[in-house]
C-alpha cells in the first residue's frame, strides 16, 4: 500500500516539479530572439523633418544601426545620450545610424531629440509596419545590420555598450 502511494505520488509530483522548474527558470515576458542571423527586412521610410526617404537597399555595403525609440519610453531616454555620444565616431568609419520613431508623433519625437540629443536621422513609421517587419515588441530595440543586409545583433531593451561596440568593431 505504501509503495503504491509512493509511486502514484511520485508520478504526480515529479512531472509537476519538472514543469515548474522549467517555467520558473525563464522570464515569461521575454520574447525569443528570432531576427538575429536573418536578412534585414527591406524598408523605405520618410525621414522626420526632411521629407526625404531612406531605403535599406541604398545602404548596402555599410553597417547599419537601427534604433527603435519613442518619446514616451523611459529606457529610451536612458540609452539615448550614450548612442548620441557613440554614433559620431562610428559614422566617420562608415556606419549608418538611424532612429525609428515607434508608435509616436513626429512633434513629440522632435521634442525628445531636443532634450536628449540628436546625432542621426529619425525615420517615421506611421503604420507601424516597419516595426512589425522587424519583430519589434516594445521600445527600445536596436538592430545591427551588416553590409550584406543581415541582422547580426538585436538588443531588446537598452543597448549593452560593451556588446554594441564589440559587434560594430567586428563589422569594420
Amino acid at each position: 500500500m505504501n509503495w503504491r502511494v509512493l509511486i502514484i505520488g511520485a508520478l504526480i509530483v515529479i512531472p509537476l516539479v519538472v514543469v515548474l522548474a522549467l517555467g520558473f527558470g525563464r522570464d515569461p515576458r521575454a520574447l525569443p530572439n528570432m531576427m538575429e542571423g536573418q536578412p534585414a527586412p527591406a524598408f523605405a521610410q520618410e525621414v522626420m523633418d526632411q521629407g526625404t526617404q531612406i531605403a535599406l537597399a541604398d545602404l548596402r555595403g555599410r553597417p547599419v544601426v537601427l534604433n527603435f525609440y519613442a518619446s514616451w519610453c523611459v529606457p529610451c531616454a536612458q540609452e539615448h545620450p550614450w548612442l548620441v555620444k557613440t554614433a559620431p565616431g562610428y559614422q566617420q568609419r562608415g556606419v549608418v545610424f538611424l532612429g525609428v520613431l515607434y508608435q509616436d508623433e513626429p512633434a513629440k519625437g522632435k521634442g525628445f531629440l531636443r532634450r536628449y540629443g540628436e546625432a542621426y536621422p529619425t525615420l517615421l513609421d506611421p503604420t507601424g509596419r516597419m516595426a512589425i517587419d522587424y519583430g519589434v515588441a516594445g521600445v527600445p530595440e536596436t538592430y545591427i545590420i551588416d553590409g550584406q543586409g543581415t541582422i547580426v545583433k538585436k538588443f531588446t531593451g537598452p543597448v549593452v555598450p560593451d556588446e554594441f561596440v564589440a559587434t560594430l568593431e567586428a563589422l569594420l
Binding site: L31, Q103, P126, T127, G128, A131, I132, D133, G135
Partner: protein, 204 residues
C-alpha cells in the same frame, strides 16, 4: 462561439475607443493615417483576395484572435487596445485583403516573434506535453474511478448484504456482550475493590 467572438470584438472596439478618446490628439497616426501602398510578403498569396470588406474583416478577426499582442502579452491582437496591436491588426487586414492565407500570415509573425506569438502553440516538438497532458489526466481520472468502483463492488457483499435476520442480529450483538462479561470483568472487580465495595457474590 460566434457570440463569444462578437462580444470580444465589441469589447475590443469599446476599449480601443476609450483609449483613443482618453488621449485625444495624443494617439499616433498609426494605422488610421492614409496607408501607403500595401506591402506584400516575400511569397505570393495562396488565395484570391476576399470578395467583400465584410469577408476581409471576418478573416482578420479570426487570424488576429489567434495571435498574441506582444505589448500587453495576455491578450490577443484582436482584443488588445494597444497601439502596437492595432498596427499588427492593420497589417493582418492588409495581408488578408491581398489574399494571404491564415497560415501564411501566422508564419510571417512566427518568423518575427517566435511561436510565442501563437495563442495556441503548434502541436509539435516540445509542445507535445501540452496536448498529451489532458489525455493522460483524463485517462488517469477514469482509471481511479474504475478502480474505486470495482473495489466497492467486491467489498459490497461483506458490508451490506445479505439482509440480517432477527436471529443474526442476536448473534451479531453477542461479541459485545462477551467482551463485557469476560474481558471487562477484571476491571470491574478492580474498580469495585478500589471503591471499597465487593463484587456481587463475593463476601468480605
Amino acid at each position: 462561439m460566434k457570440t463569444v467572438l462578437a462580444l470580444a470584438l465589441l469589447a475590443g472596439a469599446a476599449l480601443a475607443e476609450d483609449v483613443s478618446s482618453a488621449s485625444t490628439g495624443a494617439s499616433p497616426a498609426a494605422a488610421s493615417a492614409a496607408d501607403p501602398a500595401p506591402q506584400p510578403l516575400d511569397e505570393p498569396p495562396l488565395l484570391p483576395p476576399p470578395a467583400s470588406d465584410a469577408e476581409t474583416d471576418a478573416t482578420t478577426a479570426v487570424v488576429s484572435d489567434g495571435l498574441r499582442c506582444p505589448v500587453c502579452q495576455g491578450l490577443s491582437v484582436n482584443d488588445s487596445p494597444a497601439d502596437g496591436a492595432r498596427a499588427m491588426k492593420a497589417r493582418i487586414r492588409e495581408l488578408v485583403a491581398m489574399g494571404y492565407s491564415q497560415e501564411q500570415i501566422e508564419d510571417y509573425f512566427v518568423a518575427r516573434y517566435g511561436t510565442w506569438v501563437l495563442l495556441a502553440p503548434p502541436a509539435e516538438r516540445q509542445h507535445w506535453a501540452v496536448y498529451l497532458a489532458p489525455v493522460v489526466f483524463l485517462g488517469g481520472g477514469l482509471a481511479v474511478i474504475g478502480w474505486s468502483y470495482r473495489n466497492r463492488r467486491t467489498a459490497a457483499p461483506v458490508a451490506g448484504a445479505p439482509a440480517p435476520t432477527p436471529a443474526d442480529e442476536g448473534r451479531a450483538a453477542a461479541p459485545a456482550d462477551e467482551l463485557e462479561d469476560d474481558d471487562l470483568e477484571p476491571y470491574r472487580r478492580r474498580i469495585l475493590a478500589e471503591l471499597g465495595l465487593s463484587a456481587p457474590g463475593e463476601g468480605r
